[in-house]
Amino acid sequence: MRERLPVIGAYVLTGLLLIFILAPVAVVVLGSVLNTRWLGVSSEQWVPGAEGLVTFRWFGYVLATYGRMILFSLKLAVLSVVICIVVGVPAAYALVQHPFPGSRFVEELVLVPLSLPGITLSIALIQAYAVWRGRWWLVLCGHLLYTIPFMVRVTSGALRSFDVAELERAAQTLGARFSQRFFLVVLPSLRHAILVGSLLVFAISWGEFNVSYLLNTPLNQTYPAALYATFTFNSFQVSSAATTLFLLGVLPVLLLLQRLGGGELGGELGGELVRIEQGA
């Protein structure tokens, strides 16, 4: 019994932590569809229409008001994924397979943004490129700064975990040129890592607030900044609906990551994941 007590304690504490994590999310998701005027606490109780207990009208309101920002965030996220693959994967390959003097330093330097506060990087970026403030691609650059470390880290980790050099040499003795080897041997064997990296990049870009908020002009904001606007100016129901929409964007990605990563997420990748500074 004395040996079992700590185990039971750990289960109880884990349960409590799960409640701590889920309760606010449940309240918000419920709040987005329930007509809280029935509770008499709604600030929207004088809005006509929607008499039932469940209403989806706030989603319509959010989509109509902030739909443009949702599209903008999606565009940024997709572009981040594409650029991270195009720039990050070849670089990771070169850094691992063909190290040169200073390649270790480059690898470390790429990771630096993860341990720097978002506000520091945002102000640095604004100061340096004040002329372009408000341009959408400057925001994209801010996102890249945060997302590329993950792509580089995940792919270089995969490259180190199996012998790509051996496979390449085999292809080479069969007469494959460099481009053939890279596209037909290296890239296919990195499929899984690139997929995991892309999902990470998408999730981070979708949720990024600091850099986007500071780099953008108020009229041209990303969806997390729209969330901030609803928290500040709109009612509980509208904010909840907006937050629920945000969750709908990121939850499938997280679940897929958990599925693909499986053990990896708890192991090596977990160690990297925890360095996500992302929006915090």
């Binding site: 070849p90 670089a91 070169a94 341990s115 640095a124 100061q127 340096a128 969330l227 904010s239 915090a280």
Partner: protein, 312 residues
């Protein structure tokens, strides 16, 4: 016979030629290809990280020129902004608040997540995968969402105070979201995934046979904890502490939503920059914040790696 010999000879010739070709490819030409592959990344990192940070450092040395500051900005570089951070009571308080809050968050998150991390690493139970997935959920939330959730739960008419009022007739915890306790809860909320994953990956590698050995040698639970478990696991605890500390220190979104009375450094920087337009002072503060976070993180990581290699 002669035919076969010639064939072997030819084969050897071909493989020698192939080897020379490969050697050549591994040489200068190949290096150039590899360099081309890294170049875009290097350009990106320099343009977006190194250059802006260097510029920020220079900027932080210029005298402040905010709208509240009537002094004409002279061109001379000085450390006056850094002196101001330490001497101005408001900024000093914000810095102190940030450090104290982050220390508290790091301590609470590390200790709170240890049992769950142990369960995930060492035990099998039904629904483990789902539980782990749910534990990582807050990681995808921006700070502002966590701030919003905290207000919903612990704000002036939050869910918890309302429930408490129904149950006890007294709305305890009302408005705690805006005070130290609420900030602590909010920060711990988004540190749970980080702390759990770091501790879990450390516990997976942990050799529990050492503990078993101590037990067979007759060590009691307290002795095992004091002389075996804590010393061996200390590096992992410290690195978790460091990661959660430095992330909390730089966190901006939560503070933006919640920090009304309890001033925090990231928010002060934001206000200085956008409200008072004092770029140089904001730059100095941003660098102090960034340097602190980076230093804590790097020191702990290096110390951790040192410990690991010594034990390995």
């Amino acid at each position: 016979m002669a035919e076969a010999g010639r064939r072997i000879e030819r084969g050897a010739e071909i493989s020698i030629a192939r080897g020379a070709e490969m050697a050549m490819e591994r040489g200068a030409g190949f290096r150039r290809t590899a360099a081309w592959l890294v170049l875009p990344l290097v350009v990106l990192v320099f343009a977006l990280l190194v250059y802006p940070l260097a510029l920020l450092s220079v900027q932080s040395l210029r005298p402040g020129a905010g709208i509240l500051d009537a002094r004409p900005g002279s061109g001379a570089l000085s450390l006056s902004n850094y002196r101001l951070i330490v001497s101005d009571p408001d900024y000093r308080t914000a810095l102190l608040h940030s450090v104290v809050l982050s220390l508290g968050v790091a301590l609470v998150a590390t200790l709170l997540c240890l049992p769950s991390a142990w369960l995930f690493a060492r035990r099998e139970f039904r629904g483990k995968r789902l539980a782990r997935a749910l534990f990582t959920l807050p990681m995808s939330f921006s700070g502002i969402i966590v701030g919003f959730l905290t207000i919903i739960m612990l704000g002036r008419i939050g869910v918890v105070p309302q429930l408490l009022e129904k149950l006890t007739g007294h709305d305890g915890l009302s408005g705690v979201a805006y005070r130290f306790g609420g900030l602590l809860a909010a920060y711990v909320y988004f540190e749970v995934p980080r702390a759990t994953l770091t501790l879990e990956s450390a516990l997976r590698k942990f050799d529990f046979r050492l503990d078993a050995a101590a037990r067979t040698l007759g060590a009691g639970p307290w002795q095992r904890l004091r002389f075996v478990l804590v010393p061996l696991f200390l590096p992992a605890l410290l690195s978790t502490f460091a990661v959660t500390f430095s992330v909390s220190l730089g966190s901006f979104g939560v503070a933006l939503i919640l920090s009304k009375r309890f001033s925090l450094l990231p928010l002060e920087i934001f206000q200085l920059y956008t409200g008072l337009l004092n770029g140089p002072l904001a730059a100095a503060m941003a660098l102090v914040l960034g340097a602190t976070a980076l230093a804590v993180n790097t020191t702990m990581r290096l110390a951790f790696e040192g410990r690991v290699s010594r034990h390995a």
